[in-house]
Amino acid sequence: MDILSHLTPMFFGLIAAGTLIGIIFGAIPGMTATMAVAVCLPLTYAFGLQNGIALLLGLYVGGISGGMVPAVLINIPGTPSSITTTFDGYPMARRGEGERALKIGIVASVFGGLFSAAVLFFFAPVLADFAIKFSYVEKFLIILLALTVIASLCSNMLMGIFSGVLGVWLSLIGTYSITEGGNGEPRLMFDFMQYYLIDGFSLLPVLIGIFGLTTVLLDAEKGFKDETGQGPISLKGGAKFKFSVFKGQLTNLVRSSSIGTFIGILPGVGGSAASVLAYSQEKNFSRDSSQMGKGAPQGIVSSESSNNALTGGALVPLLSLGIPGDSTTAILIGAFTLQGIQVGPLFIGNNIDTWYLMIIALLAANVMMFGIMYFAIRHIAKVIEVPKYILYPLIIMMCVVGAYAINYGIMFDVWTLLLFGIFGWVAHKIGLETVPLIIGFILGKSAEVYFVKSIESYGNLSIFFTKSPIAMFLWVLIAVSVAFAIYLRVRNRRQPTVES
C-alpha cells in the first residue's frame, strides 16, 4: 500500500513537533492555533503535502489544547475557545488544584479530539450533506442558543443581560464589512476613529485585556506585600487527580464532544460558540450543576472536550465540501492550494491516501498531545507558584506581544488590550458582568451577519420560525435553555430559604 510509505519517522516526528509547538502557542495568551498554523504554512512547501499536513494538524490539535493552560492557571483563555475553561479551571487552581484541573482538561481534550476524529472518518460526507441544511437562519438560531448561556452564567440576571447586550454592541463597532456582504460603512464611532476601527476591535486583544490585564490590575490594587516567594495559590493542599473524577461524566463527555464536533461542521459558527454551548448545556441538563462556575470538574470536561472536538468537526466541511469549518482550517486549506490540490466534494475520493494520512495524523496528534501534556503538566503547573510580582509583568509582556502579533503587527491591537484591561477593571468596580459581556462580544458579529443575511435572503422575520424543522427544533432548545436557567435561578434562591 502506498500509504505505508508515508508513515515515516519524519511523518510522526513532525506531528510531535507540531503538537509541542502548538501547545506552546496555545499556552501563550494572544497566540493561537490559527497563528501557529499560519506561521508554519510556508513550511509545507519544503516538507511536501503529506508531511506538511502532519505538521499542521499537530499544530492545530496542540494549539487548541494548549489554550487551557493559561485559562486554568492565570485565568486568561489561551485561545477564544478556552474561555469557558476559566470559569471552573481558575477557581480550582486557586484552591490548589491547578494540576488536577489541567489533567481533567487534558483527558477531556483527548476524548473530544478522538471522538471527533472518529466522526470525521466514519461520517464526513453524510455530515457535510447535513451541514448544508443549515442556512443563515439556522446559524443565527445556533448563535442565539449559545447566547442564552448568559442567562445561566450571570449572578444578576438584569445586569448580566445588560452586559451581554453591551458586549454585542461593542462587537458591532467598525464596519459591516463588504467581505461579509455588508455595505462597508463605518458605524458606532466618530470619524477620527475610522483609521483604527474600520475593522472593529480584534477579539483576542479584547479577550486577554478583559481577562488577563483586568486580573493583574485587580490583584495589583490589593497589593503583593504578603508574597515572599509563596503566592496565595499553591499546588499543594488541593485534591489530587484521579481518573475516578470522570465517573458519571460520560454523558457530559459525549454530549459536549458531539456539540463541539457539530459546531465545527457548521462553517463560520466558530469554536467559542462550541465551548459556550457545551458549557451551557451541561449547566442546564446535568443532575447537579450548582458548583459550576465555582471550580467544578464537569465544567472543564464540557469546555475542553467540546473545543477539542471542534478539530475533527471543522475538517468535515473542509474535506467534504472544500469549505473551512473554522479560522484554523481556513488556513489549513492553504496547504492544499499551495500544492495545487483542489479541495471540494470529490477530494476524499480523488485523494484517498491523503485522506487516510490525515486521519492517522489527527489521531496521532491527539495521542501525542495527551502524552506531552499529561506528563509535562506537573512542571507547567508550577507557574502559579511563581510570585506574582515576577509572574504578572511577564504575563503583561506576553499579552502585549500576543496582541501585537495577532494581526501581523498592528499597534492599535496593543492599545485595545490596554483599553479593555482598564475597562474590565472599571466594569468590576461598577458591577458589570464581564463573562456575559465577552460572550456577547464574541458572538455579536456572527449574530448580526446571520440575522441580516437571513432577512436579505428570505425577506421577512417569520422565516426564523418557518424556515425548516431544524429551525423549529432550535427554537425549542432556546426556550428550554432559557426556562432551565430561570428555573435553576429560582431553585437556588429558594434553597437557602428552605435550609434556614
Binding site: G181, P186, D199, G268, G344, P345, N407, Y408
Partner: protein, 350 residues
Amino acid sequence: MKAILSKTCLAVLATAAIGVSASAQAADDCPIPGNLRVVIGSTSTGGDTYQASSMVVDKLADQLDINAKVDAVGVMPGFQALERSRHGNTIMIFHDGAYLGNLYGVNGYPNIFDKFVVGPTVAINPGNAYLVPKNSPYQSMSDIIEAAGEGKKVKVAIQPGGVSEIGLTAMKNAVRAKYPGKESNLVAVNTGSQADKNQLLFDGAVDVINGSVQANEQYTQLPEDDQKAMRFVWITAREKTIAETNEEGMGDTTREQLLQYVTPKSSVPMSEDEDFTFDKEFFLLYNKDMDPAAIKCIDNALAEVYKDDEFKDQLKRSFFVPDYKPSEEAAGYLKEKNDEYKTIISNLKG
C-alpha cells in the same frame, strides 16, 4: 570551555560581518531591504491571492537574495501598512479589487493610481466564473439576460464592491442595452465568502452565484440529483487567457470544456460589437515615496524570474496564467482597465 566560547563568538562575528557586507553590496546594486514584507489584500491563506503571491514572492526573494514574507492582512490593513512604509520595507500584492473597490465607492478604498505606485503585474487567475444549480432552467447567459429582460427576477449572489460584482455589473449593462429599464430584475444578493455563496445556491435562495473554476469545479462533477451540483454558465476571462492555461484545464474539466463558457460562446455583450471580459490580474503596489531604483530593481528581478519556464509551469499547474508586465507598462494598462470599468459602472448608476 573558554576556547569553545571564543570560537563560537568568532564564528558569530564572522557570520555577522559577512551578512553586513552582503547587505551592503545588495544595497549598492539594489536599494531593497534584506527583509521584505509583502502584505496582501486578503486575510485568507487558502485563496488565490495568497497562492499566487507566495509563488511569486518566493522566486523574487531567491532572485534578489533577500528574505521575504507574505502576510495575509486584508485590504485596509494592507493599504495602511503600505502607506506607512516609505522606505520600501513593505510592498503589497493585490488584484483588480484594489481599484474596483474605489470605483464602486466602497468606504476606505483610495484611488490607487493617485495614492500608490502601481507596480508590475505578475499573474492572472482566469477562473472568475458564474454558476447555476445543475437543474436550473438557465442554460446560458443569454437565458439569464432574456429572463431579466422579460421581467423575471434573477437573484445573483456576489461579494459587493469588487471582482465578484463586476460580472454582475456587466450582466446588468447587457440587460439595459437590450431591455432598457429592466436591469433591476437582476438582483444582487450581497454575501461574503465562497461558502456563503454556495450555501445560498444550495438553499435555493439565489439563481446564480459568483464563484471560481478552482473552488467550484468539483461541484460541477456531481450528479444532477445532488443538492450541491452546479453548472458553469460564464467564465469572465478572455478567450485568449483561457487558451493559455494547461490543456488539462482544472480537475476533471478540460481547457476545451472551459472554453465553452467563455466569450464568444458564452456572451455578455458590452456594446454592439464587443463582449464583456474580465481577467483577474495580480499586481504589485508600492508606497508613493518608494525609491524608483528599488522599483526598477524589482522589475528586473521579476523579468529574470519570468524567463524561467519551470516557474511558469508551476503557476500554470495551479491554474494561473503567467502575466509579467513591467511597472510602467502595467500601470498604464491597469489605468486603462480601470477607466473602462469606470464607464460601465457609472453608466449603470447614471
